[in-house]
């Protein structure tokens, strides 16, 4: 009985503990901005940020911008991630393809993709394509590298076993190669989600006519501190949501893995 209680208690403690620091930060925010220790020109009160949140939510402006930003992020992720995934597989499976492509890819990888912003703006202006290209480029590398690494780290013994049982081509891919490289691919997805939001924020801040980054830059010109802070919080939440989705994906797809067995 005691054991059960203890388990239950540690379960709840586990649920509560991650919230302690965010709540402390919020309290500090309320305390320090409340009695004028920090001027509202430097940092707005939480209540003001909340007010502008309600206002922007009512007008629909906030949701529109979130949708636009998310669309950009996801389409860039799908394009870049898809190409990275396919190239990772091709190069992982074929030494010839690796020999042909990998050194070029590694060379491009060492260019910070954000350094291409001036070039991309000149080519595409501030339209959708520019952001899509930058995000795709940023997302490509973690997925490529981890897919490649995932395939190369599959035990050759398992592939040999598959061959003894007549598995080749697509069935071999489905039974052995894809599931075997999945843990690594999912690491790549989690890494690239971070890069996806980062690139989006930079791209929207530098050059955009819509989206959350644009909302923040617009507010800067009008000194609307509350909207700037609100944008930052929205970004943080979007990042957190995508991380949660990636985590759920990991737990569902890697149920067989001893590391993910619990819960």
């Amino acid at each position: 009985m005691i054991n059960v209680n203890f388990k239950e208690r540690s379960y709840w403690i586990g649920k509560i503990v991650p919230w302690i620091i965010p709540i402390l930060i919020l309290l500090a925010w309320i305390v320090f901005t409340g009695d004028g220790d920090i001027s509202s020109k430097i940092f707005p009160k939480p209540s003001k940020v909340f007010d502008s949140f309600v206002q922007l939510a009512k007008s629909g402006e906030l949701l529109d911008n979130i949708v636009i930003s998310t669309e950009r992020a996801l389409s860039g992720f799908i394009v870049g991630g898809g190409i990275g995934f396919i190239l990772g597989f091709i190069n992982g499976l074929s030494r010839k393809a690796e020999n042909l492509l990998d050194s070029t890819i590694q060379m491009i990888r060492n260019i910070p993709h954000l350094a291409l912003i001036p070039l991309v703006i000149l080519w595409f202006g501030i339209g959708q394509e520019a952001k899509l290209l930058l995000i795709a480029l940023g997302v490509f590398f973690p997925i490529y590298l981890n897919t490649f690494h995932g395939i190369r780290s599959i035990e050759p013994q398992l592939i040999e076993m598959g061959k003894v049982y007549g598995l080749k081509g697509l069935p071999l891919f489905k039974e052995v190669i894809l599931p075997g490289s999945l843990p690594s691919i999912l690491v790549g997805i989690r890494q690239s989600l971070g890069i996806m939001w980062l690139t989006l924020i930079v791209a929207e801040t530098v050059a955009a006519d819509s989206g959350i980054g644009y909302m923040a830059m617009n507010a800067r010109e009008l000194m609307l501190m509350d909207i700037i802070v609100l944008s930052i919080i929205v970004y943080a939440l979007l990042g957190k949501v995508s991380d949660i989705i990636a985590k759920i994906l990991e737990h569902r797809l890697l149920r067989w893995h001893p590391n993910f067995k619990k819960s």
Binding site: Q157, L158, K163, Y165, W256
Partner: protein
Amino acid sequence: MESKNNGAHLHVDKLQKKFGDAIVLDDIELTIQPGEFIAIVGRSGCGKSTLLRLISGLEEATQGGVYLDENKIKGINLDTRFIFQEARLLPWRKIIDNVRIGAENKDKDIALKALKDVGLDDRANEWPSVLSGGQKQRVSLARALAGNAKLLLLDEPLGALDALTRIEMQQLIGNLWIEKGFTVILVTHDVSEAVALADRVILVEKGKITMDTKITLARPRERNNDFVYFERRILDRVMDKQTSTLPKEEYAI
């Protein structure tokens, strides 16, 4: 006990295998009757595992060939099943799905029956990672048997198991062999295991077959004097070659 005639006939004809310039197997000549249980013994690196891989089609012969029921083996053959030293289960497939890989059309009932044969049908829906080493090897045995193989090749499958589990597995393999009647080639370095299971024990030394002994003990085999006699004879033969290469002074007593 009479075996059903489900086994394959095997003939190894003047087989040679080179890796680069090194001759690993030379002039191997071997005929195995359907349903026979052969054990190949020898020291590490003598070429016994390579012989098994050549018979399975995982490796190609440099010269000569292997004939399975009169057909020359070219590449993997689905009548032949190979059991490795490690169980090689797919960790991302449930136990039953691992066995289904070996079953015709991935048939679930066949797979379940094969699991029952090795006594693990109650674990069908668990992940392989929860099993012990011996249980994993039993699942891999079920996977190999699900396909009604005519020839079963075992490459030191019990080498990594503890002594008690090994004896249990030997009995299981022996019983399944009697029941199903397939041909078995077991590669092992454990002479007592070879005597406990095989109709014939073959010794491979430096790439050549140097002994071929029929084990004329009744089954089920007990570790009595006759058993020890065979074990002793083969073991002496295995060690003999080694001691004769030592300097002469060692014997001068």
